[in-house]
Symmetry: none
Subunit: 184 residues, 4 copies
DNA sequence: CATGAATGAGAATTCATTCAT
DNA sequence: TATGAATGAATTCTCATTCAT
């Protein structure tokens, strides 16, 4: 494992635990066991480390969401996408923290954000298609996406805060509520 | 105005502008014009200042949500509650930051969190009543509340990130989507 | 119990545990639960608190040492004095710390030290008498006293560091060694 | 001379003059002329500086005690060891302060203390041999050592408090008293 | 007697960054 | 690539002390 990866991994762990702002470069250095200068060799500063992590995670995110989604069927596709996202966040807590705290924050420069958008194109298309097929009411698409994400995010937070009490049954309720909200 | 209030007020302003983590104690001290030791006389550290602010804001929050809600009518009450919350967060960015970043974090001791819960009792009752009247499907109430909050939060974030593009029309769409999701 | 006594008692406990220099006035204030200003009402500063404690303890010390010592018999008197001192220190750890760390340090003004000397007069007389009776060799008296104290102190330290392993048997060995050293 | 050594040396001087507790890190920093961060680069905090000094001094101590001691002769060896120790402490006031105030205090972690013990092995052997040769009575060895040290320490304190009045004659009395105490 | 707010100097510690190796 | 010594500004925190009530 390269020194660079070690730094990224350590940053990942610290940021997950404490938040981005609370994680200092010197802490990353101490925790990773990598020499001071080595970190500066690979990264200009903390922001650059965060940016690299962001890019890594954004890639992951995009590919996972659309896994196993039967292209032709909106109704079947919806719960699969929802749950793909949900379980991805559950299993990748850092990814979740990033999505929540960083992805939209000004710590990430606009160009990276723009680059990451391409991974959501499929989701974009999904909602447009659902409207075209007159399954979903023609709401503003970006708004639908945000509310869709928002419902997953809500449940992930609920799960993380309280995981023993969030059951498959609750997940299914959430999917249903989310689905019904969009219907014609 | 007591020195303590000055410190709290200054913290409020700084945190609103910069976020919690980006606000250092020394900045609060400089900005408030209060002596170093005075701050430490009243608060053990930054977290304690934040905690006190939390309590203040939690009180606000609870009272605002239920403003102007005609008790007898679920259908009329829903959009009013939704918008009360939305505009409260829009007009009190710090309150929003708190709700999002701090309210659920471990920076706030459990007893404070518990105390704050009482302010949501009315919302609790609202959902129970809606189910009893067979307007809403009998989903798990706590889950409905979270999804309700979640939809507001999503829109607030959208607004804050992008306020010129979020119009009354979008707000109304969001309220409608949220409402439909819960229906029988 | 007066506020003053509470402060003295708290100081006693803190100093015993941490040493004099490591104990700050602010710590005494916090620990005692007495108000800031109250402490300053009774004492000018930390040194004055220490000085009062010193006086209290010095009085104790002097009276205890000569307890139960049959005046007429040097040989019987010696082990009693030795053990009086030993057990006094064992049972009054703070007194011991004071004797060791403070009694001779410059934290205590000379006039207090002089006042305390009177309590050792009896011990002084004891050694002079023992020499006069040709039981002890005519060493310098002040030196004998210091070595006598030193042997007790050594054993107290040993006991405090390691109390389970210091037995009556060891105490008796120490008394014997100390005694033999002075003999003609 | 490395920055680290400079810090250690400065600490040594300050501590000798003022005592350990009275010496602040910031004073060490100012006095040594080394940058703030440099000190923290090499040492975690003041205790760690003290600990390193301890190790250095413990090494010194062990080697000095046994200097010029004719191996084969207990009776000749004893006063030499006693005086080696005495003059070492007189000439190295810091070493003495360390031995008295720090060596046994809880500021020094147990592993360092244990490591330091090996330097006293020779003294250990000396007392065992003296008992085997039936010169010393078979007292508990560790106790004899402590009383031996104690008698030296007592005289050093006397000397430091009062050096003009402690003469060669008094030293010799102390050695004799110490010696006689152990005899069969 | 008792209280606790207020102060500011200064001590302890963290931090981002540079540089020579 | 990798290292770790060195730096000093900035930050966090402790402390002794004063004062009005």
């Amino acid at each position: 494992m390269s020194k660079k990866s070690i730094v990224l991994q350590t940053t990942l762990e610290l940021v997950t635990a404490q938040g981005v702002a609370a994680t200092s470069l010197s802490q990353i250095i101490k925790e990773s066991g990598v020499a001071n200068g080595t970190v500066y060799h690979h990264f200009k500063n903390k922001d650059e480390i965060i940016a690299e992590l962001y890019l890594m995670l954004a890639q992951d995110f995009g590919t996972v969401i659309m896994k196993n989604t039967p292209q032709a069927n909106i109704k079947k596709q919806f719960p699969i996408m929802w749950k793909n996202m949900f379980y991805y966040f559950i299993n990748n807590p850092l990814a979740f923290v990033f999505y929540e705290q960083i992805a939209k924050s000004c710590d990430i420069p606009q160009d990276l954000k723009d680059e990451a958008k391409k991974y959501i194109l499929d989701i974009d298309n999904f909602f447009r298609e659902a409207i075209k097929e007159k399954i979903f009411k023609p709401y503003t698409v970006s708004l639908m996406e945000e509310l869709f994400f928002g419902s997953v995010v809500t449940m992930v937070k609920l799960y993380n805060a309280n995981n023993s009490k969030v059951l498959e049954r609750h997940i299914n309720q959430a999917v249903e509520i989310s689905w019904k909200g969009f219907l014609k």
